[in-house]
Symmetry: C2
Subunit: 357 residues, 2 copies
Amino acid sequence: MKQEAVAKVFIKAETPFTKSSIALPDLGEEEILVKTSYATICASDLHTFYGRRHSCSHSILGHEIIGIIEEISEEGVLDYYGTPLKAGDKITWSVYAHDPNSTTSKKGYPQKSEGLYKYGHEQISEKYQLNGGFSSHCHLRKGTTIFKLPAALTDTEAAPINCTHATIAGAMRLAGNLTGKNVLINGVGMLGLSASAMAKELGASNVWVQDINIEKANHAKSFGADEAFSFGEEELKDFAKEHGNIDVVIETSGVPEAIENCIQLLGIGGTIVLVGSVYSQRDLAINAEYLVRNLLTIRGLHNYIPEDLANAISFLEKSHKKYPFKELVGIEYPLDELEEAFETGNKGSYYRVGIKP
Amino acid sequence: MKQEAVAKVFIKAETPFTKSSIALPDLGEEEILVKTSYATICASDLHTFYGRRHSCSHSILGHEIIGIIEEISEEGVLDYYGTPLKAGDKITWSVYAHDPNSTTSKKGYPQKSEGLYKYGHEQISEKYQLNGGFSSHCHLRKGTTIFKLPAALTDTEAAPINCTHATIAGAMRLAGNLTGKNVLINGVGMLGLSASAMAKELGASNVWVQDINIEKANHAKSFGADEAFSFGEEELKDFAKEHGNIDVVIETSGVPEAIENCIQLLGIGGTIVLVGSVYSQRDLAINAEYLVRNLLTIRGLHNYIPEDLANAISFLEKSHKKYPFKELVGIEYPLDELEEAFETGNKGSYYRVGIKP
């Protein structure tokens, strides 16, 4: 009898997951079966489980995943760099499978391409059942961008790469060259800490962080931040003026008041990259004349392109000893206790809760 | 006795200009005295004269100017390309003089640099009186970027280069590579016509224009536009979807409703460049989640950098026979009839009104 996977299936919000045995798949063209090593609960998983965000069901949540290749379809699969992958390789992969020949992929936006397939977000189908992180196995489809993980990275460091760090790498790409720039990170969750460290590594002169919770803001000082500010105080505005203005804001909170505040903080020619606005909210009030006279740029980013994931891995490999990323997974649960893990995650005491199948 | 210049001095809004004789200046370091050949009345001149925009006084309005060098300070002055200028050269120049060593100039925003001096906008001082276009002469200060005009360009083609066309060249720089893109120009004034032709010359697949006045929109078809739409109709949205979405919008109207509409028209990864929002208006209502999920970019541009002016001149030199730019100066007045010229300009029947001193 063929081996079976064990998954915790999401049925509907605020309802315990259903533990299911699922037959391991017959692999199609350029597909891979991964044995999940580790997954972390992302904020969007929490939003889905607590009904703050709509998601398909039945589905397997979890998209911050790493694992070990168990089986590869017979024609073989190449990693991002063109090297053939083999059973036993420890890998991370893009949160989506895409068709590189689709119109939108060709325009440079694979994360929005036609027929996109997102791990941890799709309805279970007969052919593709193992499509999320909270499962013993994950079934990777053709068009997934795959990377071998550097051996030096621990599981807790590596699991959030393909969501948090890759998204921030994308934000940095949109922000442009940071050398010599003053960068403000607004919102110090997992994205904010990643942004703080990455901005510093990319040569920012000054990295400042701002959060409604000053303790969280101060925590960013272990992740490259030079100064930390409590949101809503005038202090940052004066401080920035003294130190040559803010050139770039990476906005991770998604809170409209915060975005409006950050736009006002930007100096001439400044850019704000929005990455936190992934939930329903009121419209921003933005004055076009202010944007024009101050030469400002506002850019929205959702997910990322494969190159960003490559950069995120390189970043973490280079700097994982310098910044305590591994400490961000504050607590770990076995897959069987996924509901408890979500409950803990939702309390917000830890940047990430880990799931070890 | 030293020769005198004749200028029409702006005293206050809706009050006839004061005709003044002004002594020609003693030139300071790297300065030039120009005999004005031609000036055109820009929309911002009209806004100032009719009290819709605050400006300093006493001043000499007019910044779309060309002229012939009458005198150069003895140490000489180089043009943008490093070639020494000489008396008799016919030139255009940046609407501002800037210090290239100022902090803001070094950041790449000379048009906002500390101590900026803008022709046609500054209060007359004892030392610098001839600082606008509606005068027989103009006194160019150190830090003005100067270009020799191609001989093939007529005065009516050349006068608007240093405002309209250079600003649009800046907008194109912010929009990025247009090759193969679908570009929408919103608002078909002088800026819109320039944008339409320039987008086409830069390789846009399709150039579409939209204006509240369908006649104006249709006029853009002589300036590279493939299709013209009346603002506010659903037609453009469906049309764009059929033809692969709008990648770039150049927004020249500054009308909040129009900007909001154009943001909704953008396809995935689209960019809107705002150049028309240079007057007071209500805030825009913009949804951040919409920007994020659609990977949109909003960029504000005011004035331009010297490279943009260089590109604008090259553009016009290359394409002035292809597009009827010279017809855009619909009527011409002598300097003595400046009030009549403004009255005509304010009626809006002509893209530009010319002033020949």
